[in-house]
Each structure stands twice: as C-alpha cells, then as structure tokens.
C-alpha cells in the first residue's frame, strides 16, 4: 500500500514538472492510443523490441536501431509518451503494432520504469530496417524551391536529432541560395489529447527554447542576424488526439 502511494506520488510529481494534465475537450478517435506509461524492453534472439502497456493491452512501439533510424526508442528509468494508431497487423514481440507512432521520453527520472524481459521463443523481432548511418545523410540537397520548413520535436523537448538538424541545415542552404531577406522562425507549444480523456500540455517555455535554438543555429550557419526574426507561441496549440505531435514544432519561413 505504502509502495503504491509512493508510486502515485511520484507520478503526480512527474506530471506537474514535465507536462501539465488537464481535462480533455474531445476524445481521440477509437483507433488512437495516446498514453503515458513505463516502457518495456524485450530481448529477442536478434534486435530488442520496445513495448508499452495501456489499459490492459500491450503495444509494440518499435525496434532498437541507431541514430540514423526513423524510430528513436524510449528509455528505462523514464516514462514515455506514446501517440499512435492501432493497426490490424500481427503482434510483434507480443504487442499490437502502432502505426504511425511518435514517442517522447519524459525527461524526469522515474526509477519505477525498469522492466527488461528476456528473449523467449515465439517473441521474435522482425528484421531491422537497414538504415545505417552513411555520410550521404549529411550531403546537402539541390532543390531551392521550398520556402517553408517544419522542424518536429519530442514532447517538452528542444533536442534536435540527426534528422532534424538536417532540416535546419537545408533551411540555411536554401535561405542563402535565394538571398532570403527575411527568415521567420516560429516556435510552438503543443497539447496531446490522451486516450484517458486528459490533455497533456507542454511547458510554457518550450516554444521559445525551440525557436531560439533554431534561430541561433541558422545565424551560426551564416544567415545575417538582421534577417532572422523569432516568434514564440506560448499559448498551447489545440489538440485533436491525432495530429497533436505535429504541433510540437518550429516553422521557418523564407522570404526572398
């Protein structure tokens, strides 16, 4: 009982510091699974699988990969925000696959999230997508027609991955190529509509952190300071339980 209370208090503390819970307006569609839970890692004969449990059901999130992979796995010792759509595909490692899926590691430590399951027969992982890091991933593009760029982020995070740094690099390249007179950087703060009927709102400061970080990088990449403007939308974006993850973003508009 005491242990349960401690866990509940820890969870309550977590929600207060890393995201804000509020009553929902609209329920996500029945096919959606948006929840915060402890991730589970299952060893297999090949690549470890990442899973999470919600409402008595186990869901498959993705496979261990590399920094070049599209899927960045969760972390034990941290809860994970899962935002995905249930598929009718066969279970993987015992879990129902969610596609598309976005996951975000909740920054606060949670030592209760510590489940590592051994490999066992019948829990095989599918072949891992062959995405190795190659230098061509860093090669600049050639197209200069794009005028608006969208940089996605994980929940409450301003960390840029290998993939999203490339977007920023491309933005700078195009801005230079067209001699952009204005570069408008807008940071957003989002809300996730959870399947349990609550809203999970990002920290107020995150929009500014995201926008400032990207503006700093663009200037570091050679865009004139005077051309770069920064806007931080501190009001959380509305949620629909489906496209919420897409609202955690920075948009960059290039004006020739």
């Amino acid at each position: 009982m005491k242990k349960t209370l401690t866990v509940l208090m820890m969870l309550a503390g977590l929600f207060m510091t890393s995201g804000t819970m509020a009553t929902r307006n609209d329920k996500p569609p029945a096919s959606r699974r948006n929840f915060v839970a402890c991730p589970i890692v299952r060893d297999t004969k090949t690549m470890p699988c990442w899973l999470a449990e919600y409402d008595g059901e186990l869901y498959f999130l993705g496979l261990q990969g590399s920094s070049a992979s599209a899927f960045y796995p969760p972390q034990l010792n941290h809860q994970v925000l899962v935002e995905g759509t249930v598929t009718k595909e066969p279970r993987i490692c015992g879990g129902i696959p969610l596609k598309p899926i976005r996951i975000s590691v909740i920054a606060e430590l949670n030592r209760g999230c510590n489940t590592l399951l051994p490999a066992e027969d019948g829990m095989e992982a599918p072949p891992a997508p062959a995405r190795r890091f190659v230098d061509s991933m860093r090669e600049p593009g050639k197209d200069t027609s794009q005028r608006e760029f969208n940089v996605p982020f994980d929940f409450d995070s301003d960390y840029l991955t290998l993939h999203t740094t490339r977007i920023v690099g491309e933005t700078a390249r195009v801005a230079k190529a067209i001699n952009a007179t204005k570069v408008e950087v807008t940071g957003y703060r989002a809300t996730t509509g959870l399947s349990n009927g609550k809203k999970f709102i990002e920290a107020e400061s995150v929009a500014a952190k995201r926008a400032n970080k990207i503006a700093e990088i663009l200037i570091g990449l050679g865009l004139p300071v005077a051309t770069v403007s920064v806007i931080a939308k501190t009001e959380p974006e509305p949620c629909d339980g489906v496209t919420d993850a897409d609202q955690r973003r920075v948009t960059i508009k290039l004006i020739p």
Partner: protein, 517 residues
C-alpha cells in the same frame, strides 16, 4: 715470518687494484643502469636529440614512438624546454616512454630518484594541495598513487554565462584544496579543483578530426576553431575545454607551467603544435606475442600503422573494424611458422579479445550522452558502439559520456567518509527548471563533474570525453581519475558496470588485446 717489503708492496698493490677494480665494476654497472634508464625520462631543458623512431620497455613489451618529421634537437625546442616560471616543459608530463603521458610507475621512480624535487611534483598541480608541505610524499599521493594532476576550474563554469544549472557543494575533500580560503570554492576566485590524468599527446590527426557541422550529442552546431571558423573535434580534453592544440598549449602554459604574463610566444605555440601533430604511438612489441608490426600481421598495430591510417572512419562494423582485422592471428595455421606455441596462444587470445571488443553484446545502460541521445536505454550493443573511431577507439562524435567512473554509485571509490577516500566529493544539486541528468536526476554525488564544469549543464555532470586506446601498456593507471590501476581493473569495471557476465577467458583476452594497442 714477515713478507719482504717488495712482496708486501706487491700485495698492497694487488689489494688496492682488486678493490679498485671492484669499485670500478660497481660504478660501471651503476652507470650502465643509468644509461639504460635515463633515456626513458626526458628532463625539460636537458637537450639532446629525440630520434625519429623509439622503442621503450614496459611491463607488456615495448612501446613504439614514431616522429614522422625525423630526429629533433630538443635543445631550444619549446615542447622540451621550460617556458614558464616553474622548470617544467610540455615533455615533463608527456613523456615519450609513457605514450606521451605519464605512468604511476615512472612518477614513483622520479620521486625516488629526485627525492621529490622533480618539477613534475610542482606544488601548483603536482600536489594534492599547494599549501601542504611539499617535501612530504603524502602531499603528492594523488599523483604518486593514481597519476592525477590538479585541474582548477573557474566557478561558475565558463560557458554558463554566470548562470549554471546547478549548485555545487564540497561534501568532503581529503586534499583540503576545495575548502581552502585561497584555492577553494569560497575563495576570491572561486575554483573547483578536480584531479585528472594527462592525456597522450600523440596520434593527433585522429583525436582532432572534426565530425560534422552539427554536434549529435547536443543537437546544436559544433564548436569551431576561433582562428579558422571551421568545426573542431572536441575530443582533445577530458572536458573539451580546449578545442584546439593551440588553445591547449596556451592553457597548459598558464596552468601547468605557471606561465608568465603575455602568454606563450606565437612561434613557440606553432612549434609545439607541429610536433604534437607528427608524433604517433602504438605498442610495437609484446613480451609474449613478439613483434606487433609484421608485414602479414594485423593492420592496425604499431606506430607506423597509426601514422598511415585514415582519419574519421566510423568502424563499429565487421568489414573494417576499429583496430582493423586480426584474422592473421585467429588460427594457428594462419600464423607465421617460426612462432612457438606460447606466441601462437597469445596471438589467438588477442584476436579473441578483439572479437569481444567488437562483437560481444551486452546491455549498455544509463550512460548519459549515449543512451540519452536517441539510441534508447538500454541498448544491446558492444564496446565498439561507443569506442567507434578506427585506430583510436574514441567516439566519432564529441565523445563526452557519463559511463559512471566519477559519479556515485557506479564509481569505484571507497565510501565518502572512509579514511581511505582520496578524492574530493562534491554534491551537485540541479535547478528545478533545468533538464535533469538522465539517469541520476537532480542530486548527484561526484568526484569530478567533468564536462558540466565547463557548460554548467546538469545533463553533463560526470561526463568525460572518451580517451584513445593506444599505448595503454605504457601509461597505467586508467580512466580520467586513475581509478583502474591496471588493464584488468579497467575490464572488471565494465564487467560490473554493465553486468556483462564476462567469462574469465574473455577478460584475459580483452586484457591481452588492450595491451597490444
């Protein structure tokens, strides 16, 4: 009967001659010993020629040192001359015989030979605390027992713009330096003193190789060389505080040589940097395995392989692995015919050790800046996941990681309040609005906050830049805080830290493998 005078005189002469010969013999033997050992330690300002190729004995065999620019006259060369107020030169702490670092064995020998007068024991950083009585061996215990020099870093951290994400308190400091009114955290110039090993100044083309425009560890732009504006590698220092060899030379002049105002002369910096870029090290001979740089042997061993290798190769793969292929040593039938059984056995063990390093999977867990940068926690990978750069085993990206050598509870230090504790212990308390350390949270006990003392960031507490693996046999102890006295302790730390469940043979193979690098 008495001997006649001439006979007595003859006898006396014979006795004198015998004693004389004996004394001469003792003197010559001592001289021979001096001749054998003196080249191993180079005193700053002593002059002489540094040959292009050198081989120095160590416990495992010989270390090879290759100076690709040919022999150098050390007299007048700024790497080998005292430049500051104390009589140290760069070479004092970066000895060719110790893989351009220093070993505890050499330090103890210097203490014995010079009775503690060698400039390497200078009060400023060669003692636990400049205010301790310098003639006492105990005042230099961290240097003599663990090969550690004091590194005093300004508080608050330089990159934090006066607003670090954490506060730092001294929980206990056996050296007293962090609590000292002048040198400590509460002094007029608040300073945090940590104790670290000097890194090898060799194989620099690999160490300094820049990665990309972006720093994958932080998701920000890579730091740049202030002179060229180009990205730098950030793998030179334990905390990446100096980004270029030039900055490091200036920093070492100021901090370790007690440099004069105005700094080091530009032409001296250029000469030092040029020398550092032309020195390559690698174990060249093994006492059990024989020559390590045979024509048909492994491609990655010996100093010449270091000089000729490609830079910036991500090598955590089975096609062209981190320390190249050891296929020639895998089976007796592929080894040279003239080898004896023990040599074959040793070489096969090294090849197995390479396979353990490259391919033996285990759960890499709770390592900040590895598990926390999108790879997941834990990841089932091998040593080469993090030690992925070909030839050195450093990280291709800026290599600061918190593997747990300096932080409680994974450090190997005695309990904080034990009389056996040697290192200071700090309590780091992170601000509520800061991103916490991913696996230690917001209250961290550490004997070296590492990179965090430069950035002021909570996530960086305990992160130390991965060092290179070359010349290990010549420069024990290991880890930035000298906590592994030998290669076996280094392997044992990883085995415990990651619950690798290494078999005894795997540990032996790993040690043998590391000893020939």
């Amino acid at each position: 009967m008495h001997s006649s005078r001439p006979q007595r005189t003859l006898l006396r002469c014979a006795i004198i001659a015998t004693v004389g010969v004996a004394l001469l013999s003792v003197w010559l033997r001592a001289g021979s010993a001096r001749l054998q050992s003196s080249p191993k330690w180079i005193e700053a300002g002593a002059g002489g020629v540094l040959p292009a190729e050198m081989n120095f004995d160590n416990a495992y065999g010989k270390l090879g040192v290759l100076n690709t620019a040919g022999p150098i006259e050390m007299k007048g060369h700024p790497f080998f001359e005292p430049l500051g107020i104390n009589p140290r030169g760069c070479v004092t702490c970066h000895q060719p015989s110790n893989a351009m670092s220093v070993s505890v064995e050499s330090l103890r020998e210097r203490w014995r030979i010079t009775k503690g007068e060698d400039p390497i024991f200078a009060a400023v950083d060669g003692s636990n605390n400049p205010k301790l009585p310098q003639a006492l061996e105990s005042s230099h215990s961290l240097l003599l027992n663990r090969g550690l020099f004091r590194v005093g870093l300004a508080w608050p951290p330089v990159e934090s713009k006066g607003k670090p994400e954490f506060t730092i308190d001294v929980v206990r400091d056996p050296t007293g330096v962090n609590l000292d009114a002048d040198y400590g955290l509460k002094g007029a110039n608040p300073t945090v003193s940590v104790f670290r090993r000097p890194r090898p100044v060799a194989n620099m083309k690999y160490v300094m190789s820049p990665d990309d425009v972006f720093n994958i560890k932080t998701g920000t732009l890579m730091a740049t060389d202030p002179d060229t504006g180009k990205p730098v590698g950030m793998n030179l220092m334990a905390d990446s505080r100096h980004l270029t060899l030039k900055q490091q030379a200036n920093g070492a002049y100021r901090d370790h040589q007690e440099g004069r105002q105005g700094g080091i002369r530009r032409e001296d910096v250029e000469k030092i940097v040029a020398f550092e870029q032309q020195v390559f090290i690698g174990q060249s001979f093994d006492n059990w395995g024989g020559s390590l740089s045979e024509p048909n042997g492994p491609l990655g061993l010996g100093p010449r392989a270091m000089a000729e290798g490609k830079i910036h190769v991500l090598a955590n793969n089975n096609r062209d692995p981190v320390f190249r292929l050891f296929d020639a040593w895998k089976k007796p039938e592929t080894m040279a015919k003239e080898l004896n059984d023990k040599q074959r056995e040793f070489r096969a063990s090294v090849a197995r050790g390479n396979d353990v390093f490259m391919f033996r999977l285990f759960w890499i867990r709770d390592v900040a800046h590895i598990n926390s940068i999108g790879l997941g926690n834990p990841i089932k990978r091998s040593c080469s996941t993090c030690h992925n750069v070909q030839m050195t085993g450093q990280d291709l990206a800026p290599g600061w990681v918190d593997v747990g050598t300096t932080n409680y509870p994974t450090w190997t230090e005695p309990p904080v309040f034990s009389d056996q504790a040697e290192l200071p212990v700090f309590k780091v308390t992170c601000n509520k609005d800061a991103l916490p350390h991913p696996y230690l949270g917001r209250v961290i006990y550490t004997n070296d906050p590492g990179r965090a003392l430069i950035t002021g960031k909570c996530v960086d507490v305990g992160s130390i830049v991965i060092g290179q693996f070359r010349g290990l046999a010549a420069r024990a102890p290991y880890y930035s805080n000298g906590s592994a006295k030998n290669l076996r302790e280094l392997v044992d730390f990883y085995d415990r830290r990651f619950d690798m469940k290494l078999a005894e043979q795997e540990k032996v193979d790993l040690v043998n493998f590391l000893s020939v690098l």
